[in-house]
């Protein structure tokens, strides 16, 4: 008799478990669909409206006729310059800071406050960085509205992302590797250079690309520091102002009357592809590294 009760209870329990399982699974699937749908819609919408504008002349020519015709070549080049320049400044600085925090810094009040500062920096609205760059680089250091002022401003904005992801990647390298390397007569730096950094590299690169991707897409930080409203030539030196895709998009969408809509969406599409392809590169690096990981 007892066994009958027991098995009945089990059956009941089993059914409710299955029900819960199905319910939760459905909810999770719905959540995933709800997340993905807007992305697909946004990308699809912009691609649909922007595609007719895309041509070699649109990509490779100077804007003409008050930006209502011609191409967006100087904006593409400007964004490339800004992204590369930001990388040149922010990557060495950020990785060095991450190495310091992960490998050298003792866990004390100073390093804890540095970490908190970095986290908070990541949360500052980008327009505040723009204003800061205007004050420090453009006016105080007299760089003027220029590539270099824009790169420095974007670097400050990007650094927290690079530092925190790089530090995380370094910390994920097992401590035992460090002890083994030291026990084989390696110095601290040899250990970092030959064992820790190579292991952390994929993670660091992912952070770098994600940070630069944000730098490439931001308007506010370059608004006061680097971007020219309309400059139908390429910047000749790092102290020249430059056009840039996000700011150009802002200008042609709000400041120019009678703007053909496909030029706006064409520009948006180019910016989107630029940023998304950086994302794809980051994903490839990460998945390759995961496949190769030996521990």
């Amino acid at each position: 008799m007892a066994t009958v009760y027991c098995s009945l209870a089990t059956v009941h329990f089993e059914m409710s478990r299955q029900l819960t399982q199905r319910l939760v699974f459905t909810l999770i699937t719905l959540a995933a669909i709800a997340t993905v749908t807007p992305i697909v819609f946004v990308v699809g919408y912009i691609a649909y409206l922007g595609w007719p504008a895309i041509s070699w002349s649109f990509l490779g020519e100077m804007p003409r006729d008050g930006m209502r015709a011609g191409g967006i070549w100087p904006a593409i080049v400007g964004t490339l310059y800004l992204t590369l320049g930001t990388g040149l400044i922010a990557v060495p600085l950020g990785v060095a800071a991450a190495i310091y925090l992960s490998e050298y810094a003792k866990d004390n009040r100073l390093t804890r406050s540095i970490r908190i500062a970095i986290i908070n920096l990541a949360g500052i609205p980008s327009v505040v960085y723009g204003l800061f760059g205007l004050g420090l680089f453009v006016l105080f250091l007299k760089f003027g509205t220029s590539l270099v002022a824009g790169c420095l401003t974007l670097s400050i904005m990007t650094l927290p992302v690079i530092i925190s992801t790089a530090e995380e990647a370094l910390r994920a390298v097992p401590q035992s590797f460090r002890v083994v390397s030291r026990s084989l007569g390696g110095t601290k730096w040899q250990t970092i250079w030959r064992v820790v950094l190579p292991q952390a590299l994929p993670g660091i690169l992912t952070g770098v690309i994600l940070g630069l991707e944000r730098a490439a897409g931001e308007t506010a930080p370059i608004l006061f520091t680097a971007a020219a409203f309309f400059l139908p030539r390429l910047p000749g030196s790092i102290f020249d102002a430059t056009m840039a895709l996000p700011y150009h998009l802002f200008v042609i969408s709000t400041q120019v009357p009678g703007m053909p809509i496909q030029i706006q969406y064409g520009t948006a599409l180019v910016l989107l592809v630029f940023v998304l392809s950086m994302n794809v590169v980051a994903t490839i690096i990460r998945s390759r590294a995961r496949a190769r990981r030996q521990w």
């Binding site: 083994v180 026990s183 084989l184 064992v195 190579p198 292991q199």
Partner: protein, 249 residues
């Protein structure tokens, strides 16, 4: 013969006040297998790590007392040079994330060993660790691809490649099957002709099998230190006897 290592009044404490080793004095003979054994938490590993100053890597460890290697105070020595003279094999095999060959050459490259002689050094070290026959055809595969027992002998090989004077082993066979364990133990008997071996065994039985001299540690204290045969057959201290005969532990 002069002892290889002389330990005088060594104490190791942690910042939180716990004491790991209390006033240890010990002379370790050259070209012998010296066994440090006793129940967990006795300070054996700490002593081992003190011998090549690996405790320096841990924050909040305070070491007092002196350790002499061939008569020289190791606290005054260049630490990387010291660690080349006193190599260490850990309880868990931790191959570096490289190939089998690179694991052996890693320490040599850091020491500036001539590249031309590398090939020969790799074979010699792998042979000394009784691993050459098993891995000679996959020197360039990742070190994680070989078995656990082979990995541990690889860890021994990369230490031997540096031609140290002292080899420290911290429970090197704790994760190994009996056959691999026997291979490691056999290579210990082989290498002690050239090296001084200090080992924390993973069991009393292993201690008895391999010890030339043995030191029994209990809660940070050195209870008894004697030639292996004496200590395991006729221990002088009651606590040693109780542990060796399995009355506690």
């Amino acid at each position: 013969m002069a002892p290889k290592i002389v330990i005088e009044h060594l104490s190791v404490q942690y910042d939180d006040g716990t004491e790991s080793l209390r006033d240890i004095s010990l002379e370790i003979p050259a070209n012998k297998v010296t066994v440090l054994f006793g129940p967990a938490g006795g300070g054996k590993s700490t002593l081992l790590r003190a011998l090549n100053r690996l405790n320096d890597l841990v924050d909040g460890v305070r070491t007092t007392g002196k350790i002499y290697l061939d008569g020289d105070d190791i606290a005054a020595a260049d630490v990387t040079a010291l660690r080349r003279r006193v190599g260490m094999v850990f309880a868990q095999p931790v191959p570096l994330p490289m190939s089998v060959r690179q694991n052996v050459t890693y320490g040599l490259e850091l020491a500036g060993y001539p590249r031309g002689k590398m090939e020969f050094a790799v074979e010699k070290a792998l042979r000394a660790a009784a691993l050459w026959d098993e891995v000679s055809d996959r020197l360039d595969s990742p070190a994680t691809a070989i078995s656990g027992g082979q990995q541990q002998r690889l860890c021994l090989a990369r230490v031997l490649a540096l031609e140290p004077e002292v080899v420290l082993l911290d429970e090197p066979t704790s994760g190994l099957d009996p056959i691999s364990t026997a291979k490691v133990e056999a290579s210990l008997q082989e290498i002690k002709k050239d090296y001084t071996v200090v080992i924390v065994p993973h069991s009393v039985q292993q201690a008895g099998r391999i010890a030339d001299t043995a030191a029994f540690f209990l809660q940070g204290e050195l209870v008894e230190y004697a030639p292996g045969r004496e200590l395991f057959v006729a221990p002088k201290d009651k606590r040693t006897e109780d542990y060796v005969t399995g009355r506690f532990g």
